[in-house]
Structures are given as C-alpha cells and as structure tokens.
Symmetry: C2
Subunit: 358 residues, 2 copies
C-alpha cells in the first residue's frame, strides 16, 4: 500500500464518522401547518406564530414550522382533510368543526353549560379527556392536542332586549353548530353567515342577533355600533382550539423533537387563555368608554333553564347514537359535577365576595 492510500483510508474512516455525527446533529425538519384563520388573525394566529418561534428556538433550528393561513390554502374548513391526507403535516383549527364528518369530534372544543377552561384542562390532562380525544382521532391517522382557549365566550349581541322565551321565538341569530341546535330548541332560528358579512346582516335586520367570540374579536367587527345589548355567555364556556398532526409525520420525528412539540403546544394553548383574558379586558374597557349605549345583560332564569334542559336532551340523543359518544358524555358530565363543586367554593365564592366589597 502506498503512503498516500494509507493516509487517505485513515482520513476517510474518521471523516465518515465525523460526517454521520454532523448529519445526526443537524438533521432538520420543516412541518407545513394549515390554520383555519386568515393572515394575522389576532390571538388565534398569535398562538401558531408563538408556537413556531418556540419550537425553532428550542430545537436550535432543527425543527421549523411553516404556517399557511386560510388566504394561502383557501380551505379554512378543510384542515381536517388536508392533514389526514398528508397534504399538510399539521393544522390549527377547532375540533367541533368536524362534527359533520366525525360526530364525536364535537366534544373536544366546548360544550354548552359545560366546563370552564381550567376545569376542561383538568379533564383533558387528569380526567381522561386526552385519551378519549386520541381514541376519536386515531382512526383518522391524526393526533389532536389542545391548541388555545378563548375563555368564556360572550352570549352575543342583540338589537332588542330579551325578556322572556317569547322574545326568542323566530329570532334570527348567527350561531353555528351544536350551540345553534340548543338555541333552535327554544325557538331561535339559527343561521351561519361568513364573518365579513355579519355586520351588514345585523345592520339590515337580516339577522336580529349575532354571537362571535368576546370583546377583543367582536370590537373589530363593529357590532357595538348597531346593537345595544351584549349578553353574558353560556354556550361556549371554554372554547379550546386544536393542533392536529398527521400520525406518520409525528412518528418520523425523533423523541426530543416530539417532546419539544408537545410542550410548545401545551404552553401555547394555556398562553392563549391568558392572552384572551388580557385582550378582552382591554377591549371591554374601550367599549365601556366609547360606546355607552352598550349594556351587559343576562338572560332571565326562565330562558337559561329552558336552554339547559334542551342541552340535556340533545346530549342524551347524542349519547344514544353510540357507545363512544355515551362514554364521552358521561365522562364530561361526571367530571364537571365534581370539578364545579370545588370551583363554586373557591373561584366563584371569591369573585362574588370581591363584587360585594367597595
């Protein structure tokens, strides 16, 4: 063997080891995420942006998330199908949008007269909720994780005050999904209208009332200019968004990057609840100052009781549809009962005490 060959062989052997070490250390992944929201949609969109930033920083650039908003993929309510098909690696949306395709996805966003945000997180993480969600999404080759909470959503903007059940009879209201079905049981005619047309529809009496989210997002749509009555919430007490991930993509990630994703999603979902609290409080202060016409109203007990009974009836019907639905409804009802008994003597008692001192 010539000197040169010996040398080359030795260097090559070491260099190969080096190359594979470097390759391992630097292997990078880019996941494409489709979100249901338009570009720069406040709060919801901040959640995916912050998530992507944290994942990239924590992984030292080994894992990047490329976010496509609805303007880009043109399919806000196609996120489930696109992630399932592998057209996108992951999505950011809300589970109850898929009720028409997979009925039991309904239960993982927020239920009327259901758990508040902290109770619902406790159900997800300590009460079996995550396991039930996994069971529902697994046949579709996807994982679903909590993706950000709005807190209690407001009950909506009404142009006339609602004093009795009679006032709801035939009332046209923008309120979608299961929540709309509950309202329908007490006489409301629920409709769904694209966000961009809501203001005009309310102004021209195409609808009499509109439910959106809460002060921060409602303020931008301008309802406070044309409706005086802002009702407190009951129908979505803890709306949780979701991160959806294609299972094949997930399984390809090394364990450290999976953990980075998990922790970044979990923090991001909690963060959105906190961000919502901040932004809603700020927007509510603005509404109070600039729109003295706006009055906060609560439905009379007669209406709440009728809607509460309607909700129970619809949940019973849903549970009768199948064994899985029955288990989920039972799990949520039992968890809520136990959790709320404590919330009542802690959070609720405290907030009521504070409202009495001057």
């Amino acid at each position: 063997m010539k000197i040169r060959s010996v040398l080359s062989a030795a260097v090559l052997a070491v260099a190969t080891t080096l190359a594979s070490t470097q390759a391992f250390a630097q292997e990078t992944f880019t996941l494409k995420l489709a979100e249901t929201w338009g570009p720069n949609f406040p709060i919801f969109g901040d959640t995916t942006k912050n998530f992507a930033e944290r994942v990239e920083k924590m992984s030292d650039g080994r894992l990047k998330i490329r976010i496509d908003s609805a303007n880009k993929h043109k399919s806000p309510l196609g996120v489930f199908d696109m992630v399932k098909a592998g057209q996108y690696d992951m999505g950011h949306s809300a589970s109850y949008y898929w009720k028409g395709k997979v009925p039991n996805t309904l239960f993982f966003t927020s239920m009327p007269f259901g758990m508040n945000a902290i109770e619902q997180y406790a159900w997800f993480y300590h009460g079996g909720g995550m396991e039930l969600m996994e069971e529902v999404y697994e046949p579709h080759n996807m994982l679903s994780f909590p993706g950000g909470n709005t807190g209690v959503q407001m009950g909506g903007w009404f142009r006339e005050e609602i004093k009795s059940l009679d006032d709801l009879d035939g009332l046209k209201m923008r309120i979608p999904g299961f929540q709309g079905e509950v309202f329908a049981e007490v006489g409301v005619r629920p409709t769904n209208i694209a966000p961009g047309e809501l203001y005009t529809a309310l102004e021209r009496n195409t609808i009499d009332a509109v439910e959106w989210v809460g002060p921060a997002l409602d303020l931008r749509l301008g309802f406070q200019q044309i409706a005086d009555y802002y009702y407190t919430g009951w129908h979505e007490p803890a709306t949780e968004l979701q991160f959806l991930i294609n299972k094949k993509v997930w399984d390809k990630l090394p364990a450290d990057l999976q953990e980075i994703m998990k922790v970044a999603m979990r923090t991001g979902s909690y963060d959105m609840l906190v961000h919502s609290q901040h932004a809603n409080a700020e927007a509510w202060a603005t509404i109070k100052e600039e729109y003295p016409n706006v009055q906060i109203k609560q439905f009379p007990k007669e209406i709440f009781q009728a809607m509460y009974d309607a909700n129970k009836k619809l949940l019973k019907e849903a549970a009768d549809e199948g064994e899985q639905a029955a288990r989920i409804v039972k799990s949520q009802e039992e968890y809520l009962e136990q959790s709320r008994a404590y919330t009542d003597i802690s959070e609720r008692a405290y907030l009521n005490t504070m409202s009495e001192v001057e």
Copy 2:
C-alpha cells in the same frame, strides 16, 4: 517526515475536529435545584419533577436537573440565599417568603383581594408583571419565573363559626406573612406554626383556626376531623410559586437550552394550576362524603369589608415605603380593576348562571 508521523498528524487533525463537534453536540449541563418542599410533597413537588423530566427529554439529555428537597438541604426558607450565593443553581419556592430580606418580593405570589390566577398570569405576561419582577430580583443576580399556581386558597378551618367582627377579636390563627397582618388589623392574633404541629395545636386549642392551602393538601393534615367550619378564600386568590435561577448559571447556558428552560417552567406553572383544580375537586368530594360535619362558610360582608379596608391601608403604607413599591402596587391595582371588569361579565356571570339552573 516519516510515514507514521504524517498519518498520525492527519488523523489527529481530523480527530480533533470530530472531538470538538461531538463535544459541542453532547455538551451537557446538570443544574442543582433546591426546593422549599419536603420529599414527594404533592402538587408542588410534582411541578419540579415534571419540569426536570421535560427539560431532559427536550434537550435529549443535554440538560439535567437534580432536585434536592428540604430534607436534603435542610434549609426550606434558605432557597433565596443559596441560589444567590451559587450554592444551588436554581430553586423552587415562593417569592413572598423573601419579604423580610427584600420587601418588594412580596408582590409576586398573591395579594389579598387581588387578581385570580388567569388575571395574574395576564398581568405577568401582558401587563408588565414580569418586567417588575425582573427589576426586583436583578440586584440579587437571580432570575425569577412563575413556578406553579394553587388557584384560590381556602380561607381556613375554624372550630367556631364566625358571625361578626367581635368573633375575630383575639382569635388565635395560623396565618403567616402579609395576609396575617391584614387579619391582625381586624383583631386576629396571627401566629406561624410548623406544619407538623398544626393538627395538635388546633386540637388542643393552642390556636382557634388554621389556614393552609386547599382541600387536597388540607385533607392530609386532618383538620376536617376537628374543625367543622371551612371558610372560602380572600387572602391568597392565586398563589404563584417561583423558579429562581442564578444569573451566572443562566448566562452560561446556550440559547436553545435557555428557551427549553423557559418554556418548561411556563408550562409547569400553568400545569400546577390545572393539577390543583383536579386534586382539590377530588379531595373536596372525599371530604363531603366522609366528613358530613364540615360546612362551607363565607365571612359576613361586615368582615370582608373591614379586611378589604385594612388591606388597602397596608398597601398604601407599603407603597409609601419607596418608589418601586408604589409602582408595583399601582400596576397591580390598575390591572386588577380592568381585568376584573371583564372577568365579572364572563367567568363570574357564567358560574353564577350555572349555579341557578337545576
């Protein structure tokens, strides 16, 4: 040059590059953490364990946290000094324990009649709270991050019912810190007693009442066996623990590990609030079932108003102590006012609605 030397030099050069690459990829850190709690202390101790586990997984073993409980370091209330001196790299404790050393650390745990947990997180992350906490801890070469929230703490166990301010006059109660000072203003004689002696002190009437945390942690100490009246909370509506980190140690960590730490601490702190909700609800269900003697009570308005006024007076005195204290008190008061106006029309309204339907 001999063949052997040429070969060796070449291999050595490549090997050195390899070694430094490997060293970079595998550089590991172990941080020693001192916690105020005893070994296996529920909920609080789970927070540090989960934090350590996540950090290690996310960093693929490059960052390890070694936790020493109080049994090991023997200095539960020495965490501040030990981390400051670099004897420990980090700590898990509560900011208000350091009030005697650095008065303005008081404000970063929970204040009587103050923000609830979500409002307080919003203040930390969107209302300037983190910046104020940094300002207070920086002169001590430490960083402080939120470290886990208990939610609203219960008002304590009383052996006799409290019907008026007169009943508080001379009443001996275990309640430490600033909260005890507020109680002292309305006639209570606050004392601090080691946890292991609390049950016996209450049983033998050395004290008439005891404040601890909430159902999950109270149940273990057995107060429900000897006190019938369990009062709702007002004095610690959102007790936030803290992670303390020595600044020199922090500065030595690469940016990706710093981000991993930050996100793991943030998730861990939120997680504790959710864990507390779950564990308290479970324990409260047990107390209700097994100890029918226990009654939930709320102080009459006269007492709350007197304590609310006493709290205002003490906060004013604290603010008069210096410019920094005045800024913190103002920041918290203004944030609470704006945030609570929204909490009242969302969370509080919803919980009250739910308490009315049957």
